[in-house]
């Protein structure tokens, strides 16, 4: 395996710890890719973190921006990054130089949790590559024998080389401008694409035959009155019209993966479509991490605390560990902390399945006292945990395992903006509402659902996108900017059908000016 060369190899005392921890993790049933640990200084850590964990990423100002933020917050002592782990096979994780041994142990335990999750959670199957580095559809293999190709570090480095080459040829201004455009559209992808089996070639409809107009049933002599000829003609014309409208429609099905659609259909130069393709691949790479933020952190935290407190920690280290752990788990200022929420939910699941608090009898029981003392001693907790970590993502995890009792115990609430008081306020502590808010926050990673509706809108070659409005309007100024980015690639006017304050509106940008018109109805 290629090491990065510039980074210090792990000192021996940590290598010894790593081996110990890996063995313990295996004892606890974790199943992970090989883990390569490297030790970094603050600067290096901030740099790699700014690049999202990939040391050889393409050059772009936003990494510089991230770096400045990280560097400043380190300098001012606001926060520091303890650990960074990359979904790659083998997985790379970085330790921060100068952390105490206790901290390093904690981080290592945490890392093994993450890597187990990377390997076993279904969502991450979408990052498997084939031998030439193309993303392959997820396959249904697992267990010890499952060793997929996930050389994303190499892949990202290839993207870096590609972008550098293009910069040399086309200049940094042009290239960067295009990357900015791609980033504007980065969230217009289909998170479930890797799991969709597409019938790309749908059976072509046969040549259109005669259109049948349905007739009302009538006795012969009444037929001319009940189904008058001119009405029948009119209907026939309408139906034919509708069929022709549909025929000219492209794409036939609405397309969620706007980036792919543009790659295939926008008039792009070669270098443009190369960059777009690279950006799209990277966007897909990060999807699983966004889909499983709560679970992933919860899982890693669950195991770091288990490993540390049961096997790894020295007695003398337990206070330091607890102090640090408390910092990671803290919920400040009413914010949900994915680490905390995740780990508590996992613990809750373990307890419920150990005590048999699930299934129909449990659900139908109304006696609070009985529920409180419910213990069937099933001992299924651990088994259930491993099952959950493999087969759920944040949305299904919350949907299935968040209970009213949990909500109360952990003081969850929903909040919203109060127009009257011009501030965000706690809205409710009702289970249903909290869950609803939480789920809508997580759905599509908090992004609006938008797809390509028509690539020949108004028969003028304009691109029509449709925003599936689910109760929340788009941010207008950003929407306009994004339309401009779309026009840059599509090179024709682009329209977006959305809703503004319950009215359907078509936003249009033709490269010069923005217009908005109300859509009838």
């Amino acid at each position: 395996m290629v090491e990065f060369g510039t980074h210090a190899a792990l000192p021996k005392y940590l290598r010894v710890e790593q081996e110990k921890i890996a063995a313990v993790a295996r004892d606890y049933g974790l199943d992970f890719f090989p883990v390569i640990l490297e030790m970094l200084s603050y600067d290096q850590m901030n740099e790699i973190a700014a690049y999202g964990g990939f040391p050889n990423r393409y050059p772009h100002w936003r990494f510089g921006m991230a770096y400045e933020r990280l560097a400043k917050s380190t300098e001012y002592g606001l926060s520091k990054i303890y650990e960074l782990v990359i979904n790659n096979n083998p997985s790379y994780a970085y330790l921060l130089e100068g952390n105490s041994l206790t901290d390093q142990k904690l981080v290592m335990c945490h890392v093994y949790g993450h890597v187990d999750f990377f390997k076993n959670n279904f969502a991450f199957r979408a990052t498997d590559l084939d031998t030439v580095g193309q993303v392959v559809g997820p396959r249904a293999t697992s267990g010890e024998g499952y060793q997929p190709n996930r050389k994303w570090i190499d892949k990202m480095a290839n993207h870096g080389a590609l972008v550098r080459r293009i910069i040399d040829r086309h200049g940094i201004e042009k290239t960067e401008e295009l990357i900015d455009v791609c980033l504007s559209l980065e969230n217009l992808i289909d998170p479930w694409l890797p799991f969709v089996v597409r019938r790309r070639s749908e059976p072509r409809e046969e040549e259109p035959g005669e259109v049948e107009v349905p007739r009302l049933r009538a006795k012969d002599y009444m037929d001319d009155f009940i189904n008058p000829a001119d009405f029948q003609q009119e209907q026939k014309r309408k139906l034919e019209q509708a069929r022709d409208d549909k025929k000219g429609k492209f794409p036939e099905q609405p397309e969620r993966d706007v980036l792919l659609f543009l790659m295939e259909n926008a008039p792009l130069e070669r270098w443009e479509s190369e960059i777009l393709a690279a950006m799209r691949e990277e966007a897909y790479y990060f999807v699983p991490q966004m889909q499983t933020k709560i679970m992933n952190e919860g899982w890693a935290s669950y195991f770091h605390s288990k490993l540390m407190t049961e096997r790894v920690c020295d007695w003398s280290e337990i206070i330091d560990y607890a102090d640090n752990n408390a910092g990671v788990m803290a919920t400040s200022k009413g914010q949900l902390n994915p680490y905390k929420l995740g780990v508590e939910l996992f613990r809750n699941i373990e307890e419920r399945w150990n005590k048999g608090q699930f299934g129909r009898e449990w659900d139908e029981c109304d006696d609070l006292d009985e529920k409180k003392n419910w213990d069937l001693r099933l001992g299924l907790g651990s088994q259930k945990l491993f099952e959950v970590r493999a087969m759920y993502n944040d949305v299904t995890f919350i949907d299935e395992f968040l209970t009213p009792e949990f909500c109360i115990e952990h003081k969850l609430f929903s909040f919203g903006y109060s127009n009257r008081n011009e501030r965000f306020e706690i809205e409710s502590r009702e289970f249903r509402k909290v869950k609803e808010k939480l789920l809508s926050q997580l759905t599509n990673a908090g992004n609006p659902v938008i797809h390509v509706e028509n690539a020949n809108y108004e028969n003028r070659g304009e691109l029509l996108l449709r925003h599936e409005h689910r109760g929340v309007d788009l941010r207008m100024d950003y929407a306009k900017e994004t339309l401009a980015a779309l026009v840059r690639l599509w090179k024709r006017p682009v329209c977006l059908l959305t809703q503004v304050e319950t009215k359907s509106v078509i936003l249009r940008y033709d490269g010069k000016e923005h217009t908005a018109k109300n859509e009838g109805g």
Binding site: S73, Y76, I86, L188, K333, E425, I426, G471, D473, Y478
Partner: protein
Amino acid sequence: MSLKIDQDHSRFRNIVRGKIRQNLRRYISQGEMIGRKGKDLVSIPVPQIDVPRFVFGDKQNGGAGQGDGEVGEPLDGEEQEGEGSGKAGEGAGEHMLEVDVTLDELAEILGEELQLPAIENKGKSRIVAAKDRYSGIRRVGPESLRHFKRTYKEALRRAIATGTYAPDNPIIIPQREDRRYRSWKEDFQPVANAVIIYMMDVSGSMGDEQKEIVRIESFWIDTWLRRYYKGLESRYIIHDAVAREVDRDTFFKTRESGGTMISSAYRLCEQIIQQNYPFEEWNIYPFHFSDGDNWSMDDTLACIELLKKSLLSRVNMFAYGQVESPYGSGQFIKDLKEHFASDERVITSEIRDRDAIVGSIKEFLGKGK
């Protein structure tokens, strides 16, 4: 090892350079940076450029949280970056990271952004202040200044030398000659003092917006000069047809109607300097803000006379900021320019709106006077 990120970082900085000025400008013009209540602390954001995307509008969105609080209570504070571990591939943070900086650092940022030169002290460091510093040791002194550690050391040394020290019973009894006392030296330090004399036209034509501009500008001037002069004093003069000295609060709040005679303010300014700030010892900075309307040409000439005869020879610089208002004629700045075109000590600046504040600060402070 040079970092790969340096290239991206400098690229970002370069984008921001054009932008940070705007950012700073926007900032100043909204007055966000003035942490008046927070003593010495203000918070500045780390510059951030957002890539626009299709995203949900903020206000309808809401979300779920965790913690105490009744329904209907506000969320405390804004979202913050959590402490602790980070994970690869987190989406770029959408939230501005607020960093607390002290006024000193703020001045430094201001200086860096506007490339302000360091201020030359006029070399009037003749005043010296004496200060006692306890830096020495002597054998006699009051018991209250006894240096316990040194005394103990002496006693220990004596005990060992005379052989009375027993390691298993290490009792040391200091005698009179062991005792050591702290002693002080007088330290003489040159002191550079400075005073800013703010003058403002409060006649009817100066509106709230104009005053806000003056207030923001004066905050930055204060901040910058305070960096160089520890004992910075500020005096405030308001004037319409007559001038009077007021406190800071009144300075920004008063609104008079009636005419404008700028010479009244300059005269008062001269008086204040004469009475309180001998110019050999003080760095003096008069700043005058008005909308450029003066009662008569005669009065303007009187002002110029005053400046030439007495004021200019005593001050580091004389700054005049003209705030544009819908009522003012804006004549005064032209007159000043005409008479003092070649005089470096008079600095004039037109402040059209809030966005022009940054430029005008640069004009005022850019000479390093």
